[in-house]
C-alpha cells in the first residue's frame, strides 16, 4: 500500500495546466509564424498571429499570478536549491536518470511536503521560471509593442535582438516542455505524477 500526501494546492494545479495549454498553443502558433511557408501547412498566418498575441497575453497574466501566489504562499522557497551539497545531489539525481532508473532503483530524493523538488529539479525550475519565462514574456511584449524596441542595432532593425532572444528562450521552454512531459512518466507508475498534478495528492 503506497503512502499519499496532499502536495499541490488548487492554485498551483490550475496555474500549471493553464500555462501548459497556453505554452502548447504558443508553440504551435509560434512555429507557424517563424517558419511561415506556403509549402508548410500549419496554422494560417493571420489566425496564428492573433492566437499567439492573445495566448501570449494570457501567459503573461498566468505568470504574474504565479509570481504573486508564490510570494504570498511562500512556495517560492521550493525553487531555491539549498546548500550545502547542491552539486553532489544534482550528480546523484543525474546518475539516477541515466542509470538507476533503468535498474529499477528508487528515487534518490523522494518528494516530501517540505521539499517538493530534488536539487536538479529546483535548479532547472528556477532557471526556467525566473530567467527564461520573464525573458520570453518581456521580449514577447516588446514584439507586440515594437515602439519600445531599440530603433537600430548593428545597422539593422532594433527589433532583431528582441526577436532572436524571444526565439531562443521560446526554444528553451519547448525543450524543457518535452523533457518535463517525459519526466512526468518517471513516478511510482507512468501516470502517478500526472494524477498528482490533477488531484494534488502525491503517491509514494
Amino acid at each position: 500500500m503506497s503512502e499519499r500526501v496532499y502536495l499541490l494546492p488548487l492554485w498551483i494545479r490550475l496555474w500549471h495546466w493553464t500555462s501548459a495549454l497556453l505554452i502548447i498553443t504558443l508553440t504551435i502558433t509560434g512555429v507557424s509564424l517563424h517558419f511561415a511557408d506556403p509549402k508548410l501547412p500549419l496554422v494560417e498566418f493571420s489566425l496564428a498571429a492573433r492566437i499567439h498575441d492573445l495566448a501570449g497575453l494570457a501567459l503573461v497574466a498566468a505568470y504574474g499570478f504565479f509570481v504573486i501566489a508564490n510570494i504570498v504562499s511562500g512556495n517560492w522557497w521550493q525553487y531555491v536549491p539549498k546548500p550545502p551539497g547542491v552539486l553532489d545531489r544534482c550528480m546523484k539525481q543525474a546518475r539516477w536518470y541515466l542509470w538507476g532508473i533503468f535498474k529499477g532503483e528508487p528515487h534518490p530524493y523522494p518528494v516530501t511536503l517540505e521539499v517538493n523538488f530534488n536539487a536538479m529539479q529546483a535548479l532547472i525550475y528556477w532557471f526556467i521560471m525566473y530567467l527564461m519565462m520573464p525573458t520570453l514574456l518581456i521580449t514577447g511584449l516588446i514584439f507586440m509593442f515594437p515602439q519600445f524596441a531599440p530603433d537600430r542595432v548593428f545597422d539593422m532593425d532594433g527589433l532583431l535582438p528582441v526577436a532572436v532572444l524571444h526565439y531562443l528562450t521560446g526554444t528553451v521552454i519547448v525543450l524543457f516542455m518535452i523533457a518535463h512531459m517525459y519526466l512526468g512518466t518517471t513516478g511510482h507508475t507512468v501516470t502517478t505524477m500526472f494524477k498528482t498534478m490533477i488531484t494534488g495528492w502525491h503517491e509514494h
Binding site: Y97, F102, T185
Partner: protein, 332 residues
C-alpha cells in the same frame, strides 16, 4: 491620367526625333544648369513660399490666393523635378505679369509631355485600376492625384524604405483617410442615390489584418493593392480593390518574400546575407516574421528539438526494455 491619342503621337514623335526638352531622362543634370534654374526659381519663391506670403514683395497682391500654390525650396529641390526651372512646366510666357494671367494655369505642361513612353506603358494598367473602373471617377484622376511632382522622390533615389512608405502612403491616405478629399472623387453611393458614396473607415476595412497600423508604417498600401510583380519590374499602376488585393500574409511573410520585388526592389542587389540572415536587406529596415530567417540558427534549433525528442524516446524505450527484463527475471 487623361491622355488623348494625338498627344501620345506627338510626344512619341518628339522623343523619336530626339527632342531632349520633352523627354524625361535619367542622365544627371549638370551643376551649372541646376544652379541657374534654382536662381531663376527664387523669383517664384518670393511669393510662393511661407516667407513670401508673410512678407510679400509687392504691396498690392492678394496673397490669400496663394495658399494652395505654396512651396518651399527645401522640399522642392530634393524632389525628382527639383533640378528644373519652375517655368519648364508652368509656361514661360504667362508668368511675367503679377498677378499671373489665368492662361498660365491652363497651359501648364502635363506629365505626358515629358513622360510619354512611360504613360503609354502605364495607361492600360491605370485603366484596369479601381480608380478608373468607377463611373465618373476616372475623369477626375490625373497623375498629380497620387504623385506630387513638387515633392515626390523616386524609390531608388529616396532609398530609405521608411521614407518611401511615408511618401507613397501619403498619396493614398490623403483621400482614403479624409472624408473631405474622398468626397471630391467619390461617385454616387449605391445605397444612397443622390448622395456621394461615404468613405469606408480605413481601420474597419482592414480589421482582418493583424497590427494594421504597424503595417502602414512599414509597408506601402500598394504592396497589397497592386497585382503580382516580376523581379526587376516596376509595380503596376493597376490599383486593386479590396476583393482583388493581396490577402495572403505569406506573400510577404515567408523566406521568398515578394517585398524583395516591391518595397525593397532597389536594395535587392545589395543582399549579402548580413550576419547570416536571409533577406538581410529587409532586416535593415524591418524585422519581418517569416521573412527574416537565420538558416544556421534554425537548423541548430530544429536539430536540438529532434535530439531532445529522440533522447526521451530512447530513454523511454530503454526503461521499457529494462523493466520487462526485470519482470522476467523476477518471474524466473
Amino acid at each position: 491620367m487623361r491622355v488623348s491619342g494625338y498627344r501620345y503621337l506627338i510626344a512619341l514623335l518628339l522623343i523619336g526625333w530626339g527632342c531632349p526638352a520633352l523627354a524625361a531622362s535619367d542622365a544627371p543634370v549638370d551643376q551649372t544648369t541646376i544652379e541657374m534654374n534654382r536662381k531663376a526659381n527664387e523669383a517664384c519663391y518670393a511669393c510662393h513660399s511661407a516667407a513670401g506670403i508673410a512678407k510679400p514683395p509687392k504691396a498690392d497682391i492678394d496673397m490669400s490666393k496663394l495658399k494652395d500654390s505654396r512651396l518651399e525650396p527645401m522640399v522642392y529641390n530634393p524632389s525628382d523635378h527639383g533640378v528644373m526651372d519652375c517655368r519648364e512646366c508652368h509656361s514661360k510666357t504667362h508668368y511675367t505679369d503679377y498677378p499671373h494671367a489665368e492662361a498660365g494655369k491652363r497651359e501648364t505642361v502635363g506629365c505626358t509631355d515629358c513622360h510619354a513612353a512611360k504613360v503609354l506603358r502605364l495607361e492600360p494598367q491605370f485603366n484596369a485600376s479601381v480608380h478608373a473602373k468607377v463611373q465618373g471617377v476616372k475623369e477626375k484622376f490625373t497623375c498629380f492625384t497620387c504623385h506630387n511632382p513638387h515633392i515626390n522622390i523616386v524609390q531608388k533615389r529616396l532609398k530609405d524604405p521608411a521614407k518611401i512608405v511615408a511618401q507613397d502612403n501619403h498619396g493614398c491616405l490623403e483621400c482614403h483617410n479624409s472624408s473631405e478629399m474622398f468626397a471630391k472623387f467619390a461617385p454616387e453611393g449605391e445605397k444612397t442615390p443622390g448622395l456621394k458614396k461615404a468613405r469606408p473607415d480605413i481601420d474597419t476595412i482592414h480589421d482582418w489584418l493583424p497590427n494594421a497600423k504597424a503595417h502602414w508604417q512599414s509597408v506601402r498600401c500598394i504592396e497589397c493593392h497592386t497585382p503580382a510583380v516580376a523581379e526587376n519590374k516596376m509595380l503596376s499602376h493597376e490599383i486593386l480593390d479590396k476583393e482583388k488585393s493581396e490577402k495572403k500574409c505569406l506573400s510577404c511573410h515567408s523566406a521568398n518574400s515578394t517585398l524583395k520585388a516591391r518595397l525593397y526592389r532597389h536594395m535587392v542587389k545589395d543582399e549579402q546575407q548580413k550576419y547570416g540572415f536571409t533577406n538581410s536587406v529587409l532586416l535593415s529596415n524591418s524585422y519581418i516574421i517569416g521573412a527574416t530567417r537565420h538558416p544556421l540558427l534554425d537548423s541548430i534549433i530544429i536539430a536540438l528539438v529532434i535530439a531532445t525528442l529522440l533522447g526521451v524516446l530512447l530513454h523511454g524505450a530503454i526503461r521499457i526494455v529494462m523493466s520487462l527484463r526485470r519482470k522476467k527475471e523476477e518471474s524466473q
